[in-house]
Structure formats: structure tokens, C-alpha cells
């Protein structure tokens, strides 16, 4: 019995979370993407000739961001990687 009540509550919470998120999913995803774009720009700024005081730290991140880099440059309207020495496709 207690299990069933708990299960029902969990299901209710799931539906409620869907209800909370559904109308704004797109707007929030867009906002997150904008944040991501800024982040990528910061990480790869040195390569594009924009001085970055934190380059020492962001350099370490670059290999980790390889996958996302491709998504990012296509989203920015560049079919191929803009950086000669940083090929991803």
C-alpha cells in the first residue's frame, strides 16, 4: 500500500515536472545554447586572434570540447571548421 502511494506520488511529480517544463522547454534550450556559444567563443578566442587572459586554463578544455566544437561552428554559419589547425570535419 505504502509502495503504491509512493509510486503514485512519484508519477504525480513526474507529470507535474512535465507540466512545469513543457511550455518553456524551447525558450530555455535557446538561452542555454546562447550561454554555450559565449563559452565556446571564450575557450577558442585565442585561436581566432582575440586576446584571452584565461587562455592558459581554457587551453586544457579544448580537447574535451571537440564534439561540441563541430556543433558550434555549424550553428555559427560555418560549414567547415574556421581554424586551420583545429580540424573536426
Amino acid at each position: 500500500m505504502a509502495n503504491r502511494i509512493l509510486g503514485a506520488l512519484r508519477r504525480l511529480n513526474e507529470l507535474g515536472t512535465q507540466y512545469y517544463n513543457a511550455p518553456y522547454r524551447a525558450a530555455i534550450a535557446r538561452a542555454k545554447r546562447d550561454e554555450e556559444d559565449l563559452f565556446m567563443l571564450l575557450v577558442f578566442s585565442e585561436m581566432m586572434g582575440i586576446p584571452n587572459p584565461a587562455a592558459w586554463s581554457t587551453l586544457e578544455l579544448q580537447p574535451l570540447l571537440m564534439d561540441r566544437f563541430h556543433e558550434w561552428h555549424t550553428r555559427m554559419g560555418m560549414e567547415r571548421s574556421p581554424l586551420d589547425h583545429f580540424r573536426c570535419c
Binding site: L9, L12, N13, G16, Q18, Y19, Y20, A22, P23, A27
Partner: protein
């Protein structure tokens, strides 16, 4: 007459509409197909296109269409007596709104979940699309101006609600952070949030706040309107998860709580409807029932705004095409039931006919104030709530609905300005801040231009708002009708409402034009003319598009 009879007749009628008429429309006219691959599946991307549980989808469809508008309209329209408003809300929901809403969903789902705006461009033509944009802009402009005025009135009428209404914003801000940063789960947050809101409502009447009569030469009403727009401008610039999303969620909960409380109180207390069935003794200056009733009550009977919600977001999440009946039609029934509650509160919440007449002294009087006062009396009588707490509860509910609409409305208006900035290559206009300021300025111009320095006459534009809203509904119905004609199916079920709406809208505009001319109110006369031109263009567009559709051969689908 007992209010219970009204309640049962109304809810019974709408339930029958859902059970029988909507089934007929869904099976025979739209021919909803459970095997049709909906855009939610075809383009599933986890963001816009997500197949969603139909109860969840209904929940947010219903709560996004039901707000302050289905309360304001009926609460003004009962000035002609309860019967006309009641009949229009019930029949309007069954034969107009339900068909329109589920039809908009169907039309969008069958066209890759495009919005009604895009569909008008595709199905009807480019000209129609331009008209559509202008009509939307007018609707937003009017709804923002009116709601600013309405909330100001509510806050002046009930100073005890000031603390909970503004406090609710703080509650929403905290909830937004807690959920966005995943600090606590939604269930606990909801319980705590609702408890916080209701304790604010309980404390509110003990710490009433009223603005001084004059602040720098402005009346209290004018100062509230300015404050509200300043708030709405800031709110509409914030990311949605911070304020709009949690507030929308609280509103949704409030809507269900409010409806259950009101209907429960009516059933327990059985108040008497004191307003006349048909008011033969309307205050001087009240316009004629026909056609004004049909534009005074837009939301609650049929509203074009629903088409925007249905085709903009709901259609992208429809799991099965057959869900359109439940989400669209039953969503309209939900809103009809809110309008019905407003009618009951504004006609049965008064002690005597004389009390009722003292509120409805002129056209546009009553509105939300009558709903709050009447509803509070019913809650106090039926559930034994303290009268001031009950009034605060309903004021907060109404003000939160209206406030959220203002936030969304300003946001959408800003997008339109930004889009215009891009089309006409005005770089400065594409930035959020200038576009928001322009939106706010246009709304304020309307609120004060229509009502003088204290903004008190803002409700004069309510019927104009209804008219523009109906025009929007007309355009959606046109799209559905053309789709039906092209498929060789009976079009009368959407064509009938379309013709009725256009006739009533045009008549109402002409009558108002004359009344504004008589009053020498050039500002409103100008506004009326703009809407009239839009209405004529819509009518011509309908005639041309239908003529073409009827002459074309029927498609096989």
C-alpha cells in the same frame, strides 16, 4: 433563482458538448486519425517537438488560455442580465470555441505544426499574413493596456491584496531558482510555494497598503499603472525560467484551487442570483446587447488567442492526432467553466438587486471588481472564509492572471518590434531594451489616451479588444474552413461561426464608431477606425479565399 441551477445547466451543457458534438466534429469533420504521425513524433527533437502526455498537455493548454480575460468579459457583460451572457458562454463554448480550438490544433498538426500566422500565409495568402501580424499587435497592445488599468483598480479597491500580489513575485523568484538549479524537487517546492502564497494572502488584509492620493501630481490609479508597467517591462526582459515560468506554474495551481473553491462554495452555500434575467433597465449609455455582447465576451466563448496557443506550442507536442479533441475542445470547456464562474460571482454574489445595481452603474463598471466582491461573498457564505481574506484571495488570483498576461504580452510585443526592426533594417530596434520601451510606451499611450490622466477609462477599449480577438479567431476559422473545403468535407461547422463572428464584429465596430463620434472621443474613434479597416480587410480576404477554394477541385486527402 438558485445559482446551483445555473451552474449545473452550464456545466451540463458544456459536458454534453464535449461528449457528443466534439465527437461528431472529431470523427466526421476533422476525421482525426490515431495512426497519423504527428509532428511531435516526426520532428521529435527534445526541445520544441516532444510527444507529451495528453493530460499534461491539456493542463498547460488550459492554463495558458484561461486568464483574466474570461473573467473580465462576462463580469462586464452581465450588465444586460445573466441570461444573455450565460447563453453566449455556454453555446459559444460548445459550437464556437471548442471547434475553433481543436480545429486550430488539427490544422497545425496536418501542416507540420506551423503556427496559425504561418498557415494564414500558406493557406490563404501573403496579404492575409500581414493583416494577421497587425491584428496580433493590436490584440497585444489592448490587452496590456486594459490589464494594467484593471490590476491598478483591483489594488486600489482592495489595499489588503497589495502585499500578496507583489509578494507572489518574490515567491515565484525563489521557486524559479530552486527548480532551475535543481535544489529541491517540484513536489516539495509546490507545497512550500503554495503555502507561502496563502500565508501572504492571510496576512495581507492585516497590512493594507494604499498609495497616497497624489504622487507628483499623479492619481493613485495612474501611479499604480506606471509601477505595473515598469515591473512588466523588467519582467519581460528577464529569462523566462526566472519569473515567468514559476509564476505561470503558480497561476495554474491557483486556477484549479480557485475554480474548486468557487464551485464548492456555490454548491454548499447555494446563493441566489439577484441580477435580473434580462436587464430591461440598463444604465443610460449602455450600448445595445446585439452585437456588443458578442465582442464583450470573447475569451470564454471564442477567442482567437487560443488559436495562437494551440498552433504555437500545443500542436508540436500532440502525441496522437486524436488527442486534439481532448486538448483543444476540453481546454475550451475549461475556459468556459471559468467564464461561468465569473458570471455566477458577478450575479449571485450580491445581497440584493439594489446592491447589484449600485455596482453596475454604467457600461464597463463591475468587471473584475464585481467578480472579486461577488465571489468573495459567495466564498464567505459557502465556505465560511473571512470576507476580507476571501476578497484578497480572489484579487490575488485575478491580479496574478492579468500580470502574467502582461509579462507575456509585452514580451511578444517586443518580439514583433524586433522583427520589424530586422525587416526595415533599423538596428537599434532589434535590441531588447529599446523594443521593450517602445512596447511599454505604446501601451501607456493607449491606457492614458483612452482614459485621461488617471487611466480610469481604460475599460472603454475592452469591447475593441474583444473585436480584434474575434478577428483573429475569424482568420483561424478561415484557415480551417479552407482546409475542409479542399478536402471536400462539410464546411458549415466552421463557416457558420466565421460568418457570425464577422457580422457581429463589423456591426459592433460601426456602432462603437458612432458612439465615440457622439462622445467626440477622437482617440478611440481613431483606434476603432484602425480595427475597422483590419476587419474589412479580413472580411474581403475571407470572401476571396473562400471563392477560390470552392471553385478549386477537391483534393483526395
Amino acid at each position: 433563482m438558485s445559482a446551483i441551477v445555473l451552474l449545473l445547466l452550464g456545466l451540463g451543457g458544456m459536458a454534453a458538448g464535449y461528449l457528443f458534438y466534439s465527437r461528431f466534429i472529431a470523427n466526421r469533420i476533422f476525421k482525426l486519425d490515431p495512426d497519423f504521425r504527428t509532428p511531435a513524433h516526426e520532428f521529435e527533437d527534445g526541445v520544441d517537438f516532444v510527444p507529451t502526455n495528453r493530460y499534461v498537455l491539456w493542463g498547460h493548454h488550459f492554463t495558458s488560455v484561461a486568464g483574466a480575460a474570461p473573467i473580465v468579459g462576462p463580469a462586464i457583460a452581465v450588465i444586460w442580465g445573466w441570461l444573455p451572457a450565460f447563453v453566449w458562454v455556454v453555446l459559444g463554448t460548445i459550437f464556437f470555441a471548442g471547434v475553433h480550438d481543436s480545429g486550430a490544433l488539427w490544422a497545425s498538426v496536418r501542416n507540420r505544426a506551423k503556427s496559425v500566422g504561418a498557415l494564414t500565409g500558406e493557406v490563404v495568402g501573403h496579404r492575409a499574413r500581414t493583416i494577421f501580424m497587425i491584428v496580433i499587435f493590436l490584440v497585444l497592445l489592448m490587452v496590456n493596456a486594459v490589464f494594467g488599468v484593471v490590476i491598478a483598480k483591483l489594488l486600489i479597491n482592495n489595499p489588503g491584496a497589495v502585499v500578496p500580489v507583489w509578494g507572489a513575485i518574490a515567491v515565484a523568484l525563489v521557486i524559479g531558482q530552486l527548480i532551475y538549479r535543481r535544489i529541491i524537487g517540484l513536489g516539495i517546492v509546490s507545497v512550500v510555494g503554495v503555502a507561502a502564497l496563502y500565508s501572504l494572502i492571510y496576512i495581507g488584509p492585516q497590512v493594507p497598503i494604499a498609495l497616497p492620493d497624489q504622487v507628483m501630481g499623479l492619481s493613485a490609479s495612474a501611479s499604480w499603472i506606471l509601477l505595473l508597467f515598469a515591473y512588466a517591462a523588467i519582467a519581460s526582459l528577464l529569462p523566462v525560467w526566472m519569473l515567468l515560468q514559476p509564476r505561470d506554474y503558480i497561476n495554474g495551481l491557483q486556477l484549479f484551487v480557485g475554480l474548486i473553491l468557487l464551485y464548492g462554495a456555490v454548491l454548499i452555500g447555494n446563493p441566489t442570483v439577484v441580477a435580473p434575467m434580462i436587464n430591461v433597465d440598463v444604465p443610460p449609455g449602455t450600448p445595445s446587447l446585439l452585437p456588443l455582447l458578442f465582442v464583450t465576451i470573447a475569451c470564454g466563448a471564442i477567442s482567437g488567442f487560443h488559436g495562437l496557443v494551440a498552433s504555437g506550442t500545443s500542436s508540436k507536442q500532440l502525441h496522437q492526432e486524436t488527442d486534439a479533441r481532448f486538448v483543444g475542445y476540453f481546454g475550451a470547456v475549461g475556459e468556459g467553466s471559468l467564464a461561468l464562474a465569473a458570471i455566477i460571482a458577478a450575479t449571485a454574489g450580491f445581497a440584493s438587486l439594489a446592491d447589484w445595481q449600485a455596482v453596475y452603474t454604467a457600461f464597463g463598471k463591475g468587471s473584475l471588481t464585481a467578480f472579486v466582491d461577488g465571489g468573495a461573498a459567495i466564498l464567505a457564505g459557502g465556505l465560511g472564509l473571512d470576507a476580507s481574506v476571501a476578497a484578497t484571495l480572489l484579487t490575488v488570483m485575478a491580479a496574478l492572471f492579468a500580470g502574467t498576461t502582461m509579462d507575456t504580452g509585452l514580451r511578444l510585443q517586443r518580439y514583433i518590434f524586433q522583427e520589424w526592426g530586422e525587416i526595415y533594417q533599423q538596428k537599434w530596434l532589434t535590441r531588447p531594451l529599446p523594443a521593450t520601451l517602445l512596447s511599454v510606451a505604446s501601451c501607456l499611450l493607449l491606457a492614458f489616451g483612452a482614459g485621461g490622466a488617471d487611466g480610469s477609462g481604460g475599460l472603454l477599449i475592452w469591447p475593441l479588444f474583444g473585436t480584434t480577438n474575434q478577428l483573429l479567431a475569424g482568420l483561424t476559422l478561415l484557415v480551417i474552413t479552407i482546409m475542409l473545403v479542399r478536402r471536400g468535407r462539410p464546411a458549415i461547422y466552421t463557416l457558420g461561426p466565421l460568418v457570425f463572428l464577422l457580422v457581429m464584429t463589423l456591426l459592433a465596430l460601426l456602432m462603437q464608431l458612432k458612439s465615440f463620434y457622439d462622445k467626440q472621443d477622437w482617440f478611440l474613434l481613431g483606434l476603432d477606425l484602425v480595427v475597422l479597416v483590419a476587419a474589412l480587410l479580413v472580411t474581403l480576404e475571407c470572401a476571396a479565399a473562400l471563392k477560390k477554394a470552392f471553385s478549386e477541385p477537391v483534393e483526395s486527402t
